[in-house]
Subunit: 177 residues, 4 copies
Amino acid sequence: MINRVVLVGRLTKDPELRYTANGIAVTSFTLAVNRPFSNQQGNREADFINCVVWRKQAENVANYLKKGSQAGVDGRMQTRSYENQEGRRIFVTEVVAESVQFLEPKNASGGGGFGSQESYGNPSPSPNPYEPANDGFQRNQGQAPGSGGQKGQTDLSDDPFASDGKPIDISDDDLPF
Amino acid sequence: MINRVVLVGRLTKDPELRYTANGIAVTSFTLAVNRPFSNQQGNREADFINCVVWRKQAENVANYLKKGSQAGVDGRMQTRSYENQEGRRIFVTEVVAESVQFLEPKNASGGGGFGSQESYGNPSPSPNPYEPANDGFQRNQGQAPGSGGQKGQTDLSDDPFASDGKPIDISDDDLPF
Amino acid sequence: MINRVVLVGRLTKDPELRYTANGIAVTSFTLAVNRPFSNQQGNREADFINCVVWRKQAENVANYLKKGSQAGVDGRMQTRSYENQEGRRIFVTEVVAESVQFLEPKNASGGGGFGSQESYGNPSPSPNPYEPANDGFQRNQGQAPGSGGQKGQTDLSDDPFASDGKPIDISDDDLPF
Amino acid sequence: MINRVVLVGRLTKDPELRYTANGIAVTSFTLAVNRPFSNQQGNREADFINCVVWRKQAENVANYLKKGSQAGVDGRMQTRSYENQEGRRIFVTEVVAESVQFLEPKNASGGGGFGSQESYGNPSPSPNPYEPANDGFQRNQGQAPGSGGQKGQTDLSDDPFASDGKPIDISDDDLPF
DNA sequence: TTTT
DNA sequence: TTTT
């Protein structure tokens, strides 16, 4: 059934790249999308929309976008639920990006050599937009994810998992492809 | 900034129509949107996306759609947060529908005389898509909401507020228009 | 760059299925999409939007949709140009559908056994939405297109090319995949 | 019925602002939207999509965007037809923008003081997206269109109609509001 | 008739 | 807490 979302906004923080147990890259980020009108108090508000991207695009986003970057997302809405630590079921709504467009100008952010290109995971894009996007991810334990060292990565944290103490609860069996 | 969502799915339950303290109609409903592919286990899953509509369209939706109805939504994603009873801040992501299209055939559901028309709130549509959609609504205490008695309403509960024991926590001061 | 279209409307005519020289199916159809408001004269107008679909979906559309069928399209806008018979360059804007959703009810149109399922061309959907959609197509000369005989096809013309006298001017070399 | 388009691209030329006989502003421009993949010959192609905006947004676009500017459009597809000089009926497909987002960085284009804000025509946006967008427009003969002299306008032609020799064939009777 |  |  039809499920389509298009957003343009700015990243509220640096994106977070992780890998599933099988080395599939997944990046999550939040887009702040300003509302076109001000509220009763005269302030412009924003919506903060959680997004995930998979595979090659995940690495592109992690490498080329950072807090404050302007980006466009074309994807689908996804809902899922999980049990939190108190045993409560938490419902989550987020956007699974099928493509992410970098909208920063070429000469932005000091000198990075990246432009306004779009990020696609592979020659046939949008394989399956319904990849699981569970809360916890496999911590990448040393295996080479196959993407390191792209230009632009240096302005991200060296270890994208440094702040990630979450338990392992995703395996590639969850991936529908 | 760009924030656009289009969905086609089926209502998981009868829509819920409420009124703000000032008599502004707001209807909430959840769309089940089937995913185009099956998961690892071979099952087709769905996303369950919460939607709200305001004003005239709210009444149309409440009058003409019910559990299982197929509908299209064109709107925007909205996030908000509230404190729950345990003092926890809960984040909510939902779709504010600017228009809702009824996709049931004319002769559907037995004998309702409604067709495949689209629901718009007013001649100039989509006034402000960022209307508040807080969790609790004013219980309508007897004032005429200005729309009752449209054909088709009979197949809905006579008192749309009967099951609504939520506290009053929205006033028209919150409405940005 | 972002290029996204979502439409719901009704086919103005039976869809036209053709095949490229290499046997790739392509179906074209026009969606009438009613405008939400009436014009100065009080009439509801419609937009008539040309759409194309490729491969498996092309065959599904040809098999299961016909004049008057309600359908949803998720795709991209595409422009192209060609020389007409007077040597004039004609510019064309159309929608390349990545997915087509059938919105007719199960029991519609007399008894056809088709439902409200979505049509996708292959397990990894939407390979390349920028397939050429030139005006003339290869007339299928006897090779098996690989899809005949699906249920529902009987209510379409036996020979989908019978009325097609257009010259051959597309080859698979034009296909970017 | 659902009819939604979202585009991000670059203006192929300076936008063209005109006025109807009643002084309603309308701006037309073409967006070049790059395709995400290269064609058979290895080149990246683009789609060239004609867009129109009305009223206040028309003036904003004319004042703040120019050839090469990056912009996002959220709107609807519209078709219309007209007789050309040879008496042939020409069919036109274009996008009626309900909102236009300026995606150029704040410090772009030398020194213009405009940022990445979105252009809306009025506090209640998107009154009627189905405004006529005929080929020829009334040449504004001296009446003040009510918007001149906004900052940024200096980098546009002083007389937006200088190159416009088209006959008058639109009147406000055509405007559905 | 096309943009970076 | 989920629809056909």
